[in-house]
Symmetry: C2
Subunit: 507 residues, 2 copies
């Protein structure tokens, strides 16, 4: 049991501890510069009991640090029925950039344990989230993050004393909420679950239990843990994890080999079908909005394959208040300085909304692989990381659809030349397009790998034959309407079960 | 009266209108590229009655546009007591970057009129906001934004018919809220106030009233207004407004001439005072949090004047969950592509929170002026724009304090050399610091202009003599605690009056 600690005496007397704290604080300040130069991102996650003094500890940790290179993020309690995104999004949103520290006043542990004990999520969802936390921690480490996990521990008696003291003082009584009182009452259940959670999440980064009953000792231990971990990380150099061998429910299809590029549609049939499917989509959009189902639609494909026109036909019938088209260009410096999925996590659709990504996170295993923008480890690891990312989305109830808009090299050449020769379209064609075209065989291989390694039962790929663009548009509309219809009728939106249950109770 | 329109017949029959719409839509699509090349930011604000068809109109406007170059933002109704920022912040947050279109489904008109008619803000606050809207529109224009304001108009009878039709259909009845029914009942009051608002906000950009009773006519008129306005703006070239001659309550002090750089504090007194003032600040931070008073503290000063250490002494006693230190570096490309105050608007503190800016918007009238990073018009205009910005903050109840941390050139030289000679401090000194030092006289002049033109009764400047850094720290702490004490006791937080009234009623 991790939390069953005996008060350890480290032999330091008051003055010696004071000196040590001074020394470690100075070290932390100078480490800020080393971390900045080494471009390490450091996350300090502080968990612990209500009234254990978390806010104060963070204050003491940061008080001499340079505010340009750290930030503090406090995660209040959001009840599950108010959550509009997968639970990990809020943590991804605040990821520090390389070279900076982030201090979190409670993180994914409190969010998971607290919601479970409050019965906002059922047992099986709790277990799923514990696994998701492990995946998150591994992904962070593999992508170069340094993670320090602290738990500020106080006994039941100590907590009661503090609550009583705060409540007796007119100026501080407002600080005590029903939540605090409830945790005091349920202390033993919390102790057991905190401890279980910690046992189950020691795989990537160890937990440091701090003695919250002595402010100075807790501060000293926290400073030691942080400087020690940072020290080791700097010595070891940038971490670039190996791919894992985790298994996913891969479909084994589609493959470019099976694509029938001669597929066409009769122009008259196109008109009728387009109208019919768009009308259906308008209705379905309405329903997914009301049922709060989030939808992610991914577009990848060859240059000039007709992505833009395809997206427009899909977006047209949607209510503009309920969808976003998200064009993905090369990453900005702020994006490059963070986990490569950060810029996608932060753009996920709210529940009930549709996000259409015009190019996606698959850039990692295509352009970044081919152009050498990331290490071989990094792109090979990405297949699994992306499968885990999409799993997290679908587990929360998101409908994820992925389209590869497909043409052959001759068709591309024709369209490139047409663009070059039409003044209004010239801006659409750049030297880079021609350079990419020269690498068709490499891309073909990368696309095939991607289709094989990331077409899963929960987030399948579809090849959309787009030599006849009209045919392609009808195909995507058909797939989207079918998938939404299924989602609306199935009505099993896992992550939101409790949300809907609460709502229905209210109505 | 703007809204007292007669149904105008523009002589187009159904087919001719269809052709015209096609032509204008194609023009809008091609204008996207012209706008992109000319780096114009375009805002289309669509206001209008409930059930007038605003969502649908936006859909029809964007349906052929390239999603990489526009976005749509829908502003739902947030009751005033839930607002945590000055009302204009939400609009600043979504400003489009140069070269892109933003479509707003209701904007500052609905936010102002709706809240006033719902009695969420009193008459005088309504009038203040009308003025604030005018200031916003002028600032946008002067900084190169193109603004198209549309109002989708339907009669009372038409609105009733649409509400009834939507309510009779099971699939659509959820779309009708109490708000819609209330507007229908209060149609005449809304008509009068919409109209007044429009009359009062025609100074910078005209209103275009669209006939919401004919979808095609409304679409045609909207397309004409947008393409026409954009056309004119492109012909006219980038707009760079002249400074206004608006008067502000200028204090006429402080001035660098009056600074007494020999001021010092006895080290023993420093220790006692620091403790006393920090303790007081902790208590006050608690109170401003509970009273929901936002606080903005600005630090500017000479390089090596001791800003960092000063900020740390001020931040130390604050609860980390209730403040942010915001370091301001040179603007990123995304920031450069927007109104220069955008990056500050987006970082304002929530009510009850403290934001400490380490360098500020005053960069516009210092480094940007001296280095020629903006036009002469731009920095001369900035004094007034900044006074307006700070007025908006203080009108909403924000405490705004501005510190100029002051030293003389000799002291700076000493500190630069000390940094150069201390290995751990070398990162703090760069070639740029030396280059800036050579421009001391120009900066001195710019600082003096800034102090004279932007020290207002509502947002005063303080010169903090910092040759003795300890003295400087006590001075700022003293000023901050005095100002917060005053704010806590005065209890007149204008913008939040209704918020507190509601809250008190609830409790």
């Amino acid at each position: 049991m991790i939390l069953d600690y005996k008060r350890k005496d480290d032999g330091l007397d008051k003055d010696a501890r004071k000196e040590e704290i001074k020394r470690l604080r100075a070290m932390l300040v100078s480490r800020q510069q080393t971390v900045r130069e080494a471009k390490l991102p450091v996350i300090v996650m502080l968990e612990g009991w209500d009234c254990a003094g978390k806010g104060n500890l963070i204050k003491e940790l940061i008080c001499e640090m340079d505010p340009r290179f750290f930030s503090v993020k406090n995660f209040g309690r959001t009840p599950e029925y108010e959550e509009r995104y997968p639970f990990l999004k809020k943590f991804f949103d605040v990821l520090p950039e390389a070279g900076k520290f982030l201090f979190m006043d409670t993180g994914w542990m409190e969010d998971t344990v607290g919601k479970y004990l409050r019965r906002e999520i059922p047992k099986e969802e709790y277990e799923r989230r514990v696994e998701a936390c492990n995946i998150l921690e591994r992904q962070l480490r593999d992508n170069g993050y340094v993670l320090v996990k602290l738990f500020l521990h106080i006994s039941r008696g100590e907590q009661l004393e503090r609550i009583t003291a705060l409540r007796e003082n007119r100026d501080t009584q407002w600080r005590i909420s029903g939540d605090d009182l409830w945790q005091q009452q349920e202390y033993d259940r919390f102790l057991k679950t905190y401890d279980e959670f910690m046992e189950e999440t020691e795989k990537t980064a160890p937990w440091h239990v701090l003695d919250g009953e002595s402010r100075k000792k807790a501060l000293y231990d926290a400073l030691s843990a942080i400087t020690g971990t940072v020290e080791k990380a700097i010595e070891a150099g940038p971490y670039d994890g190996k791919p894992t061998d985790r298994k996913f429910p891969l479909l084994g299809h589609p493959s470019q080999k099976d694509a029938d590029l001669s597929a066409t549609i009769d122009p008259e049939e196109y008109k009728t079908e387009l109208k019919r499917l768009q009308k259906k989509l308008t209705k379905l959009h309405n329903q997914i909005y009301r049922k709060k189902i989030p939808v992610v639609i991914c577009y990848e494909g060859w240059d000039a394959a007709g992505k833009g026109g395809n997206i427009r036909r899909l977006a047209y019938p949607l209510d503009p208040r309920g969808f976003d088209v998200i064009p993905i260009a090369s990453p900005t410096p702020a994006e490059l300085a963070r986990h490569y999925l950060w810029r996608f996590w932060t753009k996920l659709p709210r529940s009930g909304h549709v996000a259409i990504f015009d190019r996606t996170w698959y850039g990692r295993v295509m352009v970044e692989r081919i152009e050498g923008f990331c290490s071989e480890n990094a792109w090979k690891r990405a297949y699994g990381e992306i499968n885990e990312f999409e799993r997290e989305l679908t587990d929360w109830g998101t409908v994820v659809l992925k389209f590869w808009i497909h043409i052959d090299p001759d068709t591309q050449l024709e369209r490139f030349e047409a663009r070059q020769n039409t003044p209004e379209k010239q801006w659409k064609i750049t030297d880079e397009d021609w350079r990419n075209r020269d690498k068709w065989p490499q891309y073909e291989e990368a696309v095939e790998d991607m289709l094989q390694k990331t077409s899963t039962a929960y987030a399948p790929w579809y090849i959309i034959e787009s030599v006849d663009k009209k045919y392609a548009r009808i195909r995507t509309l058909q797939i989207v309407t079918d998938a939404l219809e299924k989602a609306v009728n199935e009505n099993v939106v896992r992550g939101m079960r409790s949300q809907r249950a609460k709502k229905e109770k209210k109505d």
